[in-house]
């Protein structure tokens, strides 16, 4: 996995053609609310437990 692959996969997930422009990103860094953090932690834990079949 390279940095480019991470970027490509992220763009695909968000259905974007390019990353947000620097001005747009610098407008403000939102603080993730509790339910978003909980969802993130749950996915982290599930990812450790259930690996998927690779290539």
């Amino acid at each position: 996995v390279t940095e480019e692959q991470v970027l490509g996969s992220l763009l695909q997930q968000l259905q974007l053609s390019e990353p947000p422009a620097p001005g747009q990103r610098d407008a403000g860094r939102p603080v993730p609310p509790a339910h978003v953090r909980a969802q993130y932690v749950a996915l982290l834990q599930r990812g450790h437990g259930v690996p998927s079949r690779g290539k």
Binding site: V1, E3, Q5, V6, L7, S9, L10, Q13, L14, P19, P20, Q24, R25, D26, A27, G28, R29, P30, V31, P32, P33, V36, R37, Q39, Y40, L43, L44, G47, H48, V50, P51, S52, R53, G54, K55
Partner: protein, 291 residues
């Protein structure tokens, strides 16, 4: 014919109907521990059709002498329900006789995925019409496979050949030694690779979590099977060190919604290597058995 890479299991008939046979193979301890199943072959001895029956068939259906032989893996669940999976199917001619080989690798792979204690391997052999319709022939009625047990001489009984590779010699070695540099002689292993998202310009103030992650990569080389063994499977390429299991990477990203930034969770598939394995290019990836 027991050897390291060639194991043979004798089967016995449970049920024999005109067109369906159920074979049962006791499999426990047949597959060596820490070995990879390369191929499993079911060998059935097709008996010659008596000349008189063949002449009669040719008189009645001169243009069709084929029957379809299908092999299904059968699981009888604890609640009594059945599950089947078609693993091989091919046409055989009534004019042929002798050993016929069927690829039942997938059936053995399914059996390996069952929880212990595992039931014997059940294979259902069906001999069907080549096709349906008004012109369908009855050639399937003439195709017979030998079912002789040990008491009558073991020559014709169904055989299961298991071809395996010892992973101690031909497999990957887990995680790489962080102290040892990777050279041409390094056995396939999983090496730590850290992707630093905080240090990437495009990720700043966009990827909120994680700041970085261990992606891992598969490095090193894989020992190749002996030439004599490789010649049995000419369709398989050389064994290479590849990611055999991966895990997704969750992220919290900043997205613009209604003119303001908010946080959202996404999951990027196959971003982290869980295990590296030596695998041949062209080898089928075994299907996962659904619960």
């Amino acid at each position: 014919r027991f050897s390291q890479n060639f194991r043979e299991v004798a089967g016995r008939f449970l049920v024999s109907e005109a067109s369906t046979h159920l074979l049962v193979f006791g499999m426990e301890r047949r597959l060596p521990p820490n070995s990879e199943l390369v191929q499993a072959q079911l060998r059935l001895l097709q008996e010659p059709v008596p000349p008189a029956a063949l002449r009669q068939h040719q008189r009645l259906a001169p243009r069709s002498d084929l029957a379809r032989v299908s092999i299904e893996w059968l699981q009888v669940r604890a609640d009594g329900s059945n599950r089947t999976a078609l693993v091989d199917s091919r046409l055989v001619s009534v004019h042929e006789s002798g050993w016929k080989a069927f690829d039942v690798t997938e059936a053995v792979s399914f059996w390996q995925q069952l929880s212990r204690p595992r039931e014997p391997l059940l294979l259902r052999v069906s001999v069907q019409r080549e096709h349906l319709g008004p012109l369908a022939s009855s050639a399937h009625r003439l195709v017979r496979f030998a079912a002789r047990g040990p008491a009558e001489g073991a020559q014709g009984e169904p055989q299961l050949e298991l071809h395996t590779l010892d992973l101690g010699h031909f497999g990957a070695q887990g995680n790489c030694d962080p102290e040892a540099p990777v050279t041409e002689g390094t056995r396939c292993c999983r090496r730590e690779t850290y992707i630093d998202l905080q240090g990437l310009t495009w990720a700043q103030n966009w990827v909120l979590e994680p700041p970085g992650f261990l992606a891992y990569e598969c490095v090193g080389t894989c020992p190749q099977p002996p030439a004599a063994l490789a010649a049995r499977w000419p369709f398989l390429g050389p064994r290479q060190c590849v990611a055999s299991e991966t895990a997704p990477l969750p992220m919290i990203v900043s997205v613009q919604e209604g003119g303001r930034a908010s946080a959202r969770v996404v999951s990027l598939p196959d971003m982290r290597v869980q295990t590296c394995s030596c695998a041949s290019d062209g080898a089928p990836v075994p299907r996962r058995l659904e619960p």
